[in-house]
Amino acid sequence: MKELMLGNKAVARGMYEAGVTFISSYPGTPSTEITEEAAKYSEIDCEWAPNEKVALEAAHGATLGGVRAACAMKHVGLNVAADPLFTISYQGVNAGLVICVADDPGMHSSQNEQDSRHYARAAKVPMLEPADSEEARVFTKRAFELSEKYNTPVFIRMCTRIAHSQSVVEPEEREAFPQVPYQKDPTKVMMTANSRNAHVRVEQRTKDLIALAENTELNRVEMGDTHIGVITSSTSYQYAREVFGERASVLKLGMVWPLPEQLIRDFAAKVETLYVLEELDPFIEEHCRKLGIRVHGKDVFPICGEFSQNLVRACLGFDEPQTLSVSDAIPGRPPVMCAGCPHRGVFYVLHKKKLMVYGDIGCYTLGAIAPLNAMDLNVCMGASCSGLHGFNKAMGAAGEKNSVGVIGDSTFIHSGITGITEIAYNMSNSTVIILDNSITGMTGHQQNPTTGKNLRGDPAGKVDLEALCHAVGIRRVRVVDPYDLAAVEAAVTEELAAEEPSVIISRRPCVMIRGMKHQPPIQVDSARCVGCRQCMQIGCPAISFREKKARIDPTLCIGCRVCGQMCRFSALPGREVTEA
C-alpha cells in the first residue's frame, strides 16, 4: 500500500527489504533518522557507534561475517570514516555493504557544505543518488546487489531535501539474506603485493562500473523539447522538472559515480544547449568537460547554497512569481538554547570571565549567539581539546590562564578522548569543560556510550568519564552542577589557576529528555523587580520584558533558578540551598 515516507525512512525500509541485519552509525543531521527508523524493525541489530570510523569498520566487519550491513552518517562524518573507507574499497566485502552519506547544501545544521561525491571518486566507490523517497528505497536495495556483484562498498548519497522530505513509497516484502560463510583468504591482508593486486582489481572494477553506468536503469533519459537539455540528479532533477516541465530534455543520473561517457555524449548530441544542474561542486560538469562536451553549469548556477525552483528560474533569466511584503524589518528568530538548558550557566560564566572559548559541535554551539557570545570558534568534532592544546602551546601562560575548551559528552567520546590525551601527554596547561547532559542533544536525543543505554534504550556498557580522564593522565578532574553559577565560576577560576591540565565535568541532564521531572515555573516578585535587565543577560527564552519588569513565560520556564542567581534585588527566587 502507498505510504508517505521520509526519505531517510525509505532508506531504512530499503535496508529492511534487502535483508540487512546489522547497522552501525553515528548520528548527524540530516542522516540520523535512517538508523532510528531501521531500529524499529526487530530483524535489524542497530547501534550507535562512538564515531563514524568505528561505525564503518563495524559494518564492514559484519559483512565479513556474511550478513548485509550498513552505516549512515552526515557529510562531515565521512571525513572521520575516510580512513577505513579507502582500504575497504580495496578489501571488498563478503556480503553487501552500503554507506549512506547525507550532504547538507545550505548548511541547515552543519559547519560546512562539502560535497561527498568527491569521496566516491577518490576512494573509487560507486555512489547512487535518489531523487525522492521511492528511489531512496529502491536504490538502497539495488546498492546491496551492486555491492556483492562488484565486491565493493556502495554509497547512497542523500541531501537534506531528499532526506527530510516525505513522498509516496510503495513498500515491498523483506527478503531474507542467507548468511555467507566466512573463509580465511590470505590475499585479504592489505600489505605489499596484496594491496598492489587489490588496486589493480579496483581499477578494473571502475571500468566495469562505467560499462554498467552506460545502460543501467539507474540513469534515464526523458526526452522533451530538444532546444534545451539538462543533465541532473537528486533534488536538482525535481527543480529542473518543476521549471521546465516538458520544455526540456533531461538526463537524470541515479548513479553519480562512476559516470557514464557514451550515454552523456549521445544525450549531448541530441540537444542544442546543454546545462548541468547540480548543487555544490561542478562534479558532473567537470566530467562533461573532460569528455570535450560544451555545457553550462557553474557559469550559470551557484556553487554555494541550496537550489530551489526560483533560483533556477532567476539564473536562467526566467520570470519569477509576484510576491507580497510588509515594509517592517522582521526580527530574526535564530535557534536558542532551551529554557533551563544546563549549558547556559557555564556559558554565562565563560562570558563573564571574558575567556577565549574553543567550542565544538553540538547544541552548545548556540552559546556563541547573543547575549552569551561565549564562543570564539569551532572546527570539527573534538577540535576543542586538541585545538586548544595547540593554541596554548603557542600562547603559553597568556593562553593557558585565559582559555577553555568546551565539548559535549557524545562529542567527547567521538573525538575528544584523543585530544585530552594530547593535552596530558604533551603537557599543555589546558582546561577542558565537558558538558555532560547525558544525551546526544542536537541530533534529537540519541543514547551514547556515556549514558549507559543502547540505541533502543536498553541497558548497555557505560563510560566513566572521570575515570577515563584520570586514565589518560589528567589528575585534576572535578564535577560541577551548571545550575550553581557560583560553583561553576569557582571551578573555572581554580582550574585556570592550576599549574597542570584539568577537566571540569559540568553534569546535568538535558531538560528535553523525555520523562524528565522539572521544578515548577518561578514567578517574578514585581514589587522587587527594578527592571535592571540583569536576568536577561543569560539569554533564556522564558524571560521577556514588559512594562519595565521582567516577565517569566510559565509554559517555558522549568524552574532551573539560574536567572534568580543573577538578580541583586531578590525579585527572582535564587538557588535553593539544601545543605547546611
Binding site: H164, S165, Q166, Q238, P331, R333, P335, M337, C338
Partner: protein
Amino acid sequence: MSTKNIMIVGVGGQGTLLASKLLGDVLLRQGYDVKVSEVHGMSQRGGSVVTYVRYGEKVYSPVIDRGEADVILSFEKLEAARWLSWLKPEGLMITNTQEMEPMPVITGAAAYPENLVEKMRAAGARVMAKDFLAIAMEAGSPRTVNVALIGCLSTSFAEIPEEDWLAAIDRIVPEKFRDLNKKAFALGRQAGQKEDR
C-alpha cells in the same frame, strides 16, 4: 490539476510537524501525489521553522518558493509576516495571533513590529487571524494549538469531508490525546467556517 502549495510556519517546538503529518496523510488518501518537506536539527531549538506541503497529480520539487503558496498556516504572527512573500498574491494567510518574542526582541536589539495583521492586509494579502491559543485552551490544552489550526485550514478544502480529517487524527494521534485533539480540531474548524473571508 496543477500542484497546490501549503506552507506551515511557526516556532520550533510548536508542533508544526504533527500538523504537516495530518495534512499529508489526508491528502495522500484523497489519491493525490504528495510531498512534505520538513526541517530537522538546529532550527528546531526555538528557531523559525517551515514545512512545505505540495499535492496534485504529480509533484516534483519538495519545496515551495517565494510567491508560490496557495495557503500559509502560521502558528505565530511574526512568522506570518516573515513568510508573507512566499504567499501567492491571491493566496490565503491563516495566522494565529499569538506573539512569541524572538531572542533579538528579548535582548532589546530589535522591536516586535506592531499591527502586523493590518499591515499584511494593507500589502494586499487575504488574512484570517484568530487567537488559536485561546481555542486550544478552550479545547483543554495549549498543546493542541497545532490541531486547532489544522481544523481551521480544513475549511479551505471544500472537497474533503470532515470524517477524513477525523480519521487522520485517529491514525496519527496517540489514543490518550485523541479526544482532546478532536475537540481542538472541531473548534478550529468552527472558527474557520465562521470567518468572513
